[in-house]
């Protein structure tokens, strides 16, 4: 134990000596959380809409006004010629175009069906499907009003009073699901990538050999090097959690101790992965590449952070079990938002524990074979 302290001290000294990195580590995650928290959402609103109005009548204008009166559409102006449609949809400057034919108002007055053409940029399928739904709904509303006028009867605003209620996250605010996701991304950066690089740095500089001839077991060395990062990572995770819930006014339903346990377990797994990578890589460059490729995009895409796992093809779903972020996100969301206790996430906890033990064991094995020199 006494030989462990100098290594820890040296590592702490190295962290403090580089205040820029420390500052980046402590405050940038918060900054990103605030920026992303306000920015990201999968809501479909502000669809850029244009119209090609061949009719130019009071009726057509009032129809188009119905579109722009909603928050779903942003008015991008009238088009003059149909040739413009191609260019605007292709460049993405406009996402939907309503074409009002020249006989629109005439047909309405005669009581015949007036046909509208609607062109939608379907490249973003989610946006396309929703935009189509909104447009149909608005046009149908217009139809109802016209019918009312025609037969001199009023059905009123009646209909269905639709009340969606969202549990656990009433306003469906993105910070609520962003916080667990961002914490796992940040832990991955600080624990996996940073750990791997800091151990490989010693290899690269040749200082590892010096340390190995010192009366110090490689395992002690690794512990000494990772303890400061572990503490730092836990501090960052807590800061993101606390500051995030204060800034975005999120009530954490579950126990802090439960959150801490899950986070610590995930963190140990990440450290294990970082150490394991350091036994494979010979240079910080390679460590950086392997660690980032294994963690960055998979944590973003395969963990259920952005894309629902339920939707993935089965063989990809099987792969998601290999990434600890999956378990961590599930447990963290449940504890934070649903107030669930640890007992609801025993499977996830076991998986995280298994992952950590497996990687630490593998690393020890690699180290015995001299993977650290």
């Amino acid at each position: 134990m006494s030989s462990l302290l100098p290594v820890i001290k040296k590592e702490i000294y190295q962290i403090i000596r580089d205040p820029r990195s420390l500052g980046v580590l402590l405050f940038i995650p918060l900054f990103l959380l605030v920026m992303f928290g306000y920015a990201i959402s999968l809501d479909v609103k502000h669809i850029r809409l244009s119209a090609l109005d061949y009719d130019r009548s009071a009726e057509s204008r009032s129809l188009l006004q119905k579109f722009t009166a909603t928050e779903y559409f942003d008015w991008s102006g009238y088009l003059e010629r149909s040739s413009e449609i191609d260019v605007l949809l292709e460049s993405g400057k406009v996402q939907a175009v309503v074409v009002v034919p020249a006989d629109y108002s005439r047909n309405l007055l005669r009581g015949e069906t007036a046909k509208l053409q609607v062109l939608i940029d379907g490249s973003n399928s989610n946006l396309g499907a929703t935009a189509m739904g909104y447009i149909q709904r608005i046009v149908q509303d217009v139809s109802v009003r016209i019918m009312e006028k025609k037969i001199g009867s009023v059905v009123g605003e009646g209909g269905i009073d639709f009340r969606p209620r969202v549990w656990f996250n009433p306003e469906l605010r993105s910070p609520v699901y962003l916080i667990p996701g961002l914490i796992s991304l940040i832990l991955v950066v600080t624990a996996v990538i940073s750990t791997a690089m800091s151990i490989v740095r010693e290899k690269e500089h040749g200082t590892m050999e010096q340390l190995i001839v010192a009366p110090l077991h490689p395992v002690q060395l690794i512990i000494g090097k990772t303890v400061p990062y572990t503490v730092l990572s836990l501090v960052i995770a807590s800061m993101v959690l606390i500051a995030g819930s204060l800034i975005f006014d999120i009530r954490i339903q579950g126990g802090f101790m439960d959150l801490f346990v899950v986070t610590a377990l995930f963190l140990i797994g990440c450290l294990g992965l970082g150490i394991f990578i350091s036994t494979i890589a010979d240079s910080q460059q390679v460590a950086f590449m392997i660690a980032s490729l294994i963690t960055l995009l998979p944590t973003f895409i395969l963990s259920g952070f952005v894309f629902p796992i339920r939707n993935m093809p089965v063989f990809v779903q099987v792969f998601t079990y290999l990434f600890p972020a999956r378990y961590y996100l599930l447990a963290l969301r449940g504890i934070m938002l649903k107030g669930a206790g640890l007992e609801a996430y025993l499977f996830e906890l076991a998986a995280l524990l298994l992952f950590a033990l497996l990687l630490l064991g593998l690393s020890a094995l690699r180290m015995k074979k001299g993977g650290l020199v």
Partner: protein, 412 residues
Amino acid sequence: MSSLRFFLQKEFAQLRRDKKMLPIVFIAPIVQLFLLGYAANLDVDKIPMAVIDHDRSVQSRLLVEKFVQSGYFVESHRFERLESIDKPINEGEIVIALVIPPDFQQKMESGGEARLQLIADGADANTATIALNYANVIVSRFSSDLQMERLIFQAAAAAQLGGVQLEAAQSPNSRSGTGERQSFTADERSGAGLSSFQMPVEIEPRVWYNPELKSRNFMVPGILALLLMVMTMLLTSLAIVKEKEQGTLEHLDVTPIRPIELIVGKLVPFAIIGMVDVFLVLFAAWLLFGMVPEGSILLLVLLSAIFLLSTLGLGLLVSTLSHTQQQAMMSALFFVMLPMLFLSGFAFPIENMPVSIQYVTYLLPLRYYFVIIRGIFMKGADLTTLWDEALLLLVFGIAVLGLSIARFRKRI
């Protein structure tokens, strides 16, 4: 110029010596494209839904049917009491619950306001958002369909009394041009009331570029772009600082090599690797997903080269500004890669962001490249619409490379 040649030779020799790097650089993007391309999918369908129907009327059944027919929802549970949904929603077995009040049909038919409750699991916020978008559209279509039918009844009654003839044509009610799953436009008007009437206004919808509205067509080109960005940033952000840390950069100070030659010398090998990756991922997209650009492949390759200029430049800039490789790694991740991942419009639409953050997105080259790669892949776009994005990328690339050279000169 000859010093540049020697420097390049040295750089290539170094690359070859690093046995572990080259396989990573060429194999990783393909493996990632394979997994991530299949995983990145926002087509949320078959959302498990619980139904609590207190009304059990024709109308309530019809509404549930509309939800199921849409293909977006499946009725996975049916409960008598609201309390029963606690457990399945807590365990993530259902995402939404539709609660139909006892007076649903009566209110709807008497012209009153029927209250419909929908409960969504907000812990899975992405699925919930999409599910609510769909539900919103289904319910309001249902509601206005019913209003329309009531009007028709009234009109028919008036016609019988007053002798006004009302045309009752078969209703083509907004024919769908959007493939099988797109039910918002489908005209299955089974069950209640009149089966045919004439709508005053009808829509002829056309979905361009992605008629089946498949998320994958949008996401796979996005993943290609993300992979190119990540690979080039990983390659370059440590390139110069590595030499700084190891002290080999000082050796270069005494050679007659100029900063511009040094930056170019560092850039060229990575640019070649980057271009090989472009070809690899384009080929893999065809092989794995059968996706071929609608537009010119040549143009895509050319604009990808310009995009790589900007990300390689950003990586080199990070590298010249950092003192240690750890610093460079943090800066590359926190200042470049994560913002690009979240804010460039890969999954989260930029138009939804607050205006102040939309300005930030203009600084991300990936934003322009997403427009380019999706435009060429899906829309067959060419330079007449992509010239501004291409120009901005080019300016951005030259600017960051210039900045790296300038910073580098100052240091020496």
